[in-house]
């Protein structure tokens, strides 16, 4: 029996204070944390349930035309939000390409940023893993590792971050709002995650006890709304993590590409990623579809008005 305390604070400041106790972990949707606990990969002594904190479940328009997305907004609610799907279609497409309907109903924005890697060696307590147990080594490097990092890896760790959502967020200059005992601060999404280096157990810039309270998409990012796509290559058609993925956001003025923002996931397999990025750019150039396609983010969907296969 794995015993732990369960705390449900009433406010963000109470939550941050509660998380100051060593051995605490925040719980929101639980779609990753509960699996990790059941598998014995992590064993927090105290769960701080932030899923019902007031104000964190809102999607608010900003004066500059952007949106502020509360950390506890569920993936499905965000993807189907009319403003988000209209102004930031690549974000909606990325969200709908992740996991399954059930998981998207439970998983949250903050949890998506902070989910752990899907490296099989991290999930196997019998394997050496510097991320799970610093200093124990990395069995993935000499193991079954074709799904793991080819860029950004280190001798200590070749795991990747599995998020779809973060890929278009990086292309669109999203900001992460963080609350801690020292107050509030914000970090660009692009700077939020850390490369493994020699400390793969440290995955983000969050200090112990800090809480992600919101993600902000700037109004300026809406200039890409008419030509933005997310593309994801999976081992099966649905309900799988990416082998590689790419977001492509084009700002087109007078039939000229004024600005291009390609963004790849952390699992860049160089040649595959290049092909996926090229195809994502071709899809974005053809224009954002009126509705998210039947298979969001499928690399096999035809390019409207374009070549049948890229």
């Amino acid at each position: 029996m794995n015993r732990f305390d369960y705390v449900r604070p009433a406010t963000v400041s109470e939550a941050v204070a509660a998380a100051g106790v060593p051995g605490s972990a925040y719980l929101a949707g639980g779609t990753n944390l509960l699996d990790l606990m059941k598998g014995g990969i992590v064993s927090p002594q105290r769960l701080i349930d932030v899923s019902r904190l007031p104000g964190l479940d809102r999607i608010e328009p900003l004066p500059d035309g952007g949106v502020r997305i509360g950390a506890c907004v569920r993936n499905a609610d965000l993807a189907y939000d009319p403003t988000v799907s209209k102004c930031f279609p690549a974000v909606a497409e990325a969200l709908l390409s992740g996991a399954s309907a059930q998981l998207r109903n439970a998983a949250t924005v903050g949890g998506n940023l902070l989910q752990r890697t899907r490296c099989a060696y991290f999930y196997d307590p019998a394997s050496a893993c510097n991320k799970r147990q610093p200093g124990s080594g990395c069995d993935a490097r000499g193991g079954e590792n074709r799904l793991y990092a080819v860029l950004g890896w280190s001798q200590s760790c070749i795991a990747t971050h599995p998020s779809d959502f973060c890929v278009p967020l990086a292309a669109l200059d999203a900001m992460v709002e963080i609350e801690g005992q020292a107050g509030r601060r914000e970090v660009a999404l692009e700077d939020f995650h850390l490369l493994p280096g020699v400390t793969p157990e440290r995955e983000s810039v969050l200090a112990p006890g800090e809480l992600v309270v919101a993600v902000r998409l700037p109004g300026a990012a809406t200039r890409f709304a008419t030509h933005a796509r997310y593309l994801k290559l999976r081992e099966r058609t649905s309900y799988a993590f990416a082998v590689v993925s790419a977001a492509a956001c084009l700002h087109i003025e007078d039939e000229v590409i004024a600005e291009a923002r390609p963004s790849g996931d952390n699992a860049l397999k160089i040649e595959l990623a290049r092909r996926i990025a090229v195809r994502a750019l071709a899809l974005a150039a053809a224009g954002t579809p009126d509705h998210v396609p039947a298979l969001p983010a499928s690399p096999f969907a035809p390019i409207p008005g374009g070549a049948p296969h890229g």
Binding site: S100, A101, Q102, S238, A294, L295, P296
Partner: protein
């Protein structure tokens, strides 16, 4: 909270249940309550309509180790059509 136990109206099967039987959409039956409730949710949300590709994508979170996926997709498409038809009749 609606579960499979609350789906029938008296003795009458819900259209999704009837479609699952008509299309042999199960073998061992272990996953069936979840499959049917997911299908009811998917039809209510109206995202998939009667497009088999969308139905497969929307139902992908429910695994069927007997491999009745073909029948499941057919059943959901048919149930969606019969429910839409019933709605049209009601509106007329």
């Amino acid at each position: 909270m609606l579960t499979i136990e609350g789906l029938t109206q008296g003795e009458a099967l819900h259209p999704v249940q009837a479609a699952f039987i008509a299309h042999d959409a199960f073998q061992c039956g272990f996953c069936t309550p979840g499959q049917i409730m997911s299908a009811v949710g998917l039809i209510q949300e109206g995202w998939a309509a009667d497009d088999p590709e969308r139905v497969r994508e929307g139902m992908s979170g429910n695994l069927c180790r007997c491999g009745a996926y073909r029948g499941i997709t057919e059943a959901v498409v048919e149930a969606q059509r019969s429910l839409a038809q019933a709605e049209r009749k009601e509106a007329a």
